[in-house]
């Protein structure tokens, strides 16, 4: 029973870490799109988004393409993670945006965790501390109990052997 309870505590802790790892599932992103003359673009276009860990990294750690994104006077907005789930623990990454039909190398912009993610870290820290502390307390009680029981058995054995001699 106690070991099952311990297992559940460990699973709860792992679950919290897993949740923390998957904090940012959707990120609202607004951008500006200019045509080849530098004028704000109006219409629809395909946009490819990719996230890198470093500005010059070759392989993206996440990417997705949004089809027929409406762009009004150069402004567009998308929800990153709506096509390909985002499971990033946000600290600092580099986002690359590329519009369909452009040959120019896309520029990477740094993105950092929002207030939401910052606050989520506090929540998960508190949650993990609570269950970890309770789990450790439970383990301490159980180990002390086991130690005392074995000591009691040892003493009972030695006292019975004294009686027989």
């Amino acid at each position: 029973m106690k070991s099952t309870l311990g297992l559940v505590f460990v699973l709860l802790g792992m679950f919290s870490l897993d949740l923390q790892a998957q904090t940012a599932r959707l990120v609202h992103y607004q951008g500006t799109l200019l045509d080849s003359d530098g004028a704000p673009f109006t219409g629809t276009t395909d946009l490819h988004f990719a996230i890198y860990t470093r500005p010059m990294a070759q392989q993206p750690i996440w990417s997705e393409t949004h089809r027929n994104v409406p762009v009004n006077e150069g402004r567009y907005e998308v929800l990153l993670g709506s096509e390909n789930p985002l499971s990033l623990s946000f600290y600092e990454y580099y986002l690359e945006v590329k519009a369909a039909g452009t040959d120019q190398p896309a520029q990477r912009v740094p993105i950092a965790g929002s207030g939401f993610n910052y606050r989520m870290q506090f929540l998960f820290a508190a949650y993990t501390i609570v269950w970890l502390a309770i789990f450790l307390y439970l383990v301490t009680i159980t180990r002390r109990q086991k130690k005392i029981i074995s000591e009691l058995e040892l003493l009972a054995q030695s006292s019975s052997s004294q009686v027989t001699t």
Partner: protein, 228 residues
């Protein structure tokens, strides 16, 4: 060990119920309870910060009741229960003092404020840490139990003051949303279930801790018998 055999089955049932309740509680806190409008996700600390405070108050109340019972009846088992409850109370009060600042940092932009509620709760924590230390300082077990019982009764008097502090004085700590109906119905479900889970956890821990105390007493008695 008559008490152990009598309560073994119900406590095992409580243990299994606790396992299920912990998983359901997790789901309710993270997926069922809605996000609070102004604070966002960080408000969810409330679902285990307040139950931790509730368990610590409950534990100190048990100390209070069993300390009176010990002084009245002079039976060792009452002191064992009071001591066990005191230790569990300190564990949960420590968790309150940890989770509170973790919530306060992003919301108040500070880890700690010397407000009446926070200061009085810290004083309560010190009182019961001293309560546990007192037993180690006094060698005579009976004397230690008697002193601790008096200390536990006097220490508990801080609990209602902590509870009433936000009504008695101006305080930065949030007002009691539970009594004033500041929670959405789904938040109530998550909060109520969390209180239930933590109360079960307290019962389970108290049983284990009392059993440990009994084993320690049995061991020291046996050692004494072997010496004489």
């Amino acid at each position: 060990m008559q008490l152990q055999s009598r309560f073994e089955r119900p406590v095992r049932a409580v243990g299994y119920l606790l396992l299920a309740a912990m998983v359901v509680n997790l789901y309710l806190i993270f997926f069922f309870a809605p996000e609070e409008r102004s604070m966002g996700q960080i408000q969810k600390i409330f679902y285990f910060h307040v139950p931790c405070a509730w368990v610590s108050f409950l534990a100190f109340f048990v100390v209070f009741v069993y300390s009176i019972a010990y002084l009245w009846k002079k039976e060792r088992r009452y002191d064992l229960i009071a001591h066990s409850a005191g230790e569990i109370g300190v564990v949960f009060a420590t968790l309150v003092l940890i989770t509170g600042p973790i919530w306060a940092r992003p919301v108040w932009n500070t880890w700690w404020e010397w407000s009446p509620r926070l200061t009085l709760f810290l004083v309560l924590w010190f009182i019961f840490v001293a309560y546990l230390m007192l037993r180690g300082f006094v060698e005579d077990k009976e004397k230690a139990a008697r002193f601790s019982a008096v200390f536990g009764i006097v220490g508990f008097l801080d609990v209602p003051i902590v509870y009433l502090s936000i009504r008695l004085w101006r305080d930065i700590h949030p007002s009691p949303v539970v009594r004033e109906g500041g929670l959405a119905p789904d938040m109530w479900v998550a909060f109520g279930f969390s209180l239930f889970t933590f109360t079960l956890l307290f019962i389970y821990l108290l049983y284990l801790r009392v059993q440990l105390q009994k084993s320690e007493v049995a061991l020291s008695d046996l050692k004494r018998q072997l010496v004489y």
